[in-house]
């Protein structure tokens, strides 16, 4: 699987390529908007890691061009500017995700893999927290490599939580995920499902914890 890194800091680009290689990805490096434009036209890459501050132009401009050409390549934007406004602008320009420098290599790889697993970019890969594993392809959860049976609703909640590992999932997101936008949801329905899931996971010996962030949402993390 080949990735393209567009970053004008040579040292960072090479380190990222090396780090990605250790995780099983081959990466090519470019440093200008001009080169990227021509290379993307003739070479297929599984994903693009794009720095915004390039010497010969704005990365966002390039990103808009790519999207205008209906190129669906997943794009991970790297930037030194961490403002919310910058983030919103980046995502509006067609970025799939956004990382502010300095970021952990592990975080970059995790986010990248989340992108590559999107529909259209199927990759046989499992999500894992401690001894809990979730296979996104056949939506199968296992604890200590033992396949587990959950109800459809519980699996849906678990999948959403696992995909957002390390981040809070809002109650609204869970509602939308399970019932769709038009669903008539009882006010405590989500809490009931989360409560059941939590109980099931604990009874079956999963070393994870589903935290309720009151007024905000839910977050799954390794048990402390």
């Amino acid at each position: 699987m080949r990735l393209l890194i567009v970053e004008d800091n040579e040292e960072l680009a090479e380190l990222l390529a090396k780090g990605l290689q250790a995780a099983g990805y081959q990466a090519d490096i470019l440093s200008t908007v001009e080169d990227t434009r021509s290379v993307l036209g003739r070479t297929f890459y599984a994903a693009l890691i794009l720095d915004l501050g390039l010497p010969d132009g704005d990365g966002l401009e390039l990103l808009r061009e790519i999207r205008q050409q209906n190129n669906p390549i997943p794009v991970m934007v790297l930037t030194a500017r961490g403002g919310l406004q910058d983030r919103v602008r980046g995502l509006r320009s067609g970025a799939d995700d956004y990382l502010v420098k300095p970021f952990a290599l592990e975080e970059l790889i995790a986010r990248l893999e989340a992108q590559l697993r999107r529909p259209g970019h199927l990759l046989d890969s499992n999500l894992r927290i401690a001894n809990l594993e979730f296979d996104t392809r056949n939506r199968q959860a296992s604890i200590d490599d033992q396949p587990q049976l959950f109800s459809a609703r519980e699996i849906a909640v678990l999948e959403l939580l696992m995909r957002s590992k390390g981040r809070v999932v809002s109650k609204k997101q869970v509602e939308d995920h399970i019932f769709g936008h038009s669903g008539d949801v009882a006010s405590n329905a989500i809490e009931v499902y989360v409560h059941r899931l939590r109980k099931q996971l604990s009874e079956r010996g999963a070393k994870v914890q589903v935290h309720t962030i009151r007024g905000v949402g839910y977050l799954i993390a390794e048990e402390k």
């Binding site: 960072l12 300095p102 809070v168 962030i213 905000v216």
Partner: protein, 452 residues
């Protein structure tokens, strides 16, 4: 010269002065013209009368002159009528004929006088004004004098003169006033583009530095001023741009090397070393981020039209800091309003203020306790912790840059609360600090509510 605040009032005052001067000058000129014209008419009439009297003079066979006035002329010069008089004198000054009772001459004779003279003479109480013409009749040179008693002067002409003054006076004033009003209207019209430009100028501020005053509609006289103002605005905008560019450049120059360092550390084989160095780099990135925030805030201006949903900003911050809290065995919760709470302000900056309060609270709250966010409908967001609280004498110190109670404590830069305060200042918001019972601190930010 008094100073006038407005061009219009200056015009009005100067115009009134001009009106007064014009009225006086016009009256004097008209009066002179009128008296000149009436005197002319009088002189002409007198001359004609003298000529007419002369036509009735004839020399008899003995050389004596005879005057045979027809009855209408006799009536004109009668004593009863008393208004006109005539006299005929010879070149010696002897009176030959006279309509006066004492048979005197109207004017003293003067042999050197020309063919026609206009004269004036006082007779008793009256003043006689008239003409004297020279004639040759029957070989003799004689002077025929006619005069009019000015006291009995033609009433009609005097009436016309008097009326004229009255009417002209009444007509002049309104005409001049109409002119004044027209002038004011013309000027207001001419100044309208200037007023419009002023309204646009009133909207220019650091939040909208790109606005320029239109010069197309403006009178040529004020265009240089407006162009100069526009050029000044260009320079100011450039200054703002340079400051913003500096922040962006600084962010890039500082964060990219940190990113290199971070990635290098992430690739270390030694787990303990990697963890320790990662924490160091993260701490450093945090300080760099806060310094960049401060630099950005120094050049930041809140657009007065911007508004933000405090509820959703607080939710986003709570989502963002929840993993941090959980990793330290602490929790966060969002309470209060379930509906959007709109306040005036910049979403990004509000988020940064709340995030700094939240990080501060998570740092200080006891392990196992919950940091609570409370959003209220009146535009207030509070962050409550279960830490040691803030002693009374430290409440003003905590907002100072780099102030820390315990300099040995890790994870604190002493910048967070100064950022909170700066953002509050920019938004005209108030920050309050209170201690909670039995323990903990409560920081509240109150923003200005905005319409949804």
């Amino acid at each position: 010269m008094p100073r006038f605040k407005s061009i219009i009032s200056r015009i009005v005052i100067l115009h009134v002065v001009a009106v007064v001067i014009t009225s006086v000058l016009m009256s004097v000129a008209l009066s002179w013209l009128l008296s000149y014209a009436t005197n002319n008419i009088h002189d002409k009439a007198m001359q004609e009368q003298a000529v007419s009297v002369g036509e009735h003079l004839s020399a008899g066979p003995d050389g004596r002159l005879e005057l045979n006035l027809p009855s209408d002329l006799l009536g004109l010069y009668s004593q009863e009528y008393g208004r006109y008089s005539y006299a005929v004198t010879d070149d010696q000054g002897h009176v030959l004929f006279s309509s006066l009772k004492d048979s005197a001459a109207l004017f003293p004779g003067d042999a050197r006088a020309g063919a026609i003279e206009f004269l004036q003479q006082r007779r008793g109480d009256a003043t006689v004004s008239g003409a004297s013409i020279r004639r040759e009749v029957g070989g003799q040179t004689i002077w025929i004098q006619t005069g009019e008693d000015l006291a009995n002067r033609d009433v009609l002409i005097d009436d016309i003169v008097a009326d004229f003054y009255k009417n002209v006076g009444w007509i002049t004033l309104p005409i001049l006033l109409v002119l004044l009003i027209t002038d004011i209207a013309i000027f207001r019209r001419a100044l309208r583009p200037l007023r419009q430009a002023s309204e646009i100028a009133a909207g220019i501020g650091p939040a909208r530095p790109g606005v320029r005053l239109p010069t197309d509609e403006l009178p040529r006289e004020v265009r240089p001023l407006v162009s100069a103002v526009n050029l000044g605005l260009d320079r100011l905008e450039e200054g703002f741009r340079i400051q913003r560019d500096f922040t962006a450049d600084a962010a890039h120059e500082l964060r990219t090397p940190l990113s290199v360092l971070r990635t290098r550390i992430d690739m270390l084989k030694d787990d303990d070393m990697r963890r320790a160095l990662s924490q160091n780099v993260e701490g450093m990135a945090h300080i760099v981020g806060q310094l960049l925030d401060i630099a950005e805030l120094d050049a930041f201006v809140v657009n007065p039209e911007e508004k933000a949903d405090l509820r959703s900003v607080a939710t986003e911050v709570a989502e963002f800091v929840a993993p941090l809290a959980l990793s330290q065995g602490k929790d966060v919760a969002l309470l209060g309003a379930g509906e959007p709470v709109w306040v005036k302000g910049n979403t990004e900056m509000l988020g940064r203020a709340i995030r700094n309060l939240a990080e501060n609270a998570i740092n200080h709250t006891a392990v196992g306790s919950t940091v609570e966010f409370v959003v209220e409908g009146n535009g207030t967001v509070s962050v409550l912790d279960h830490g040691p609280g803030i002693p009374e004498d430290e409440r003003n110190l905590i907002f100072r840059r780099f102030w820390r109670r315990d300099r040995r404590k890790k994870g604190s830069t002493g910048l967070g609360l100064s950022i909170v305060q700066r953002i509050a200042e920019l938004h005209s918001a108030t920050v309050t600090v209170e201690n909670r019972r039995p323990n903990g601190a409560c920081f509240s930010l109150k923003f200005t509510p905005a319409a949804a």
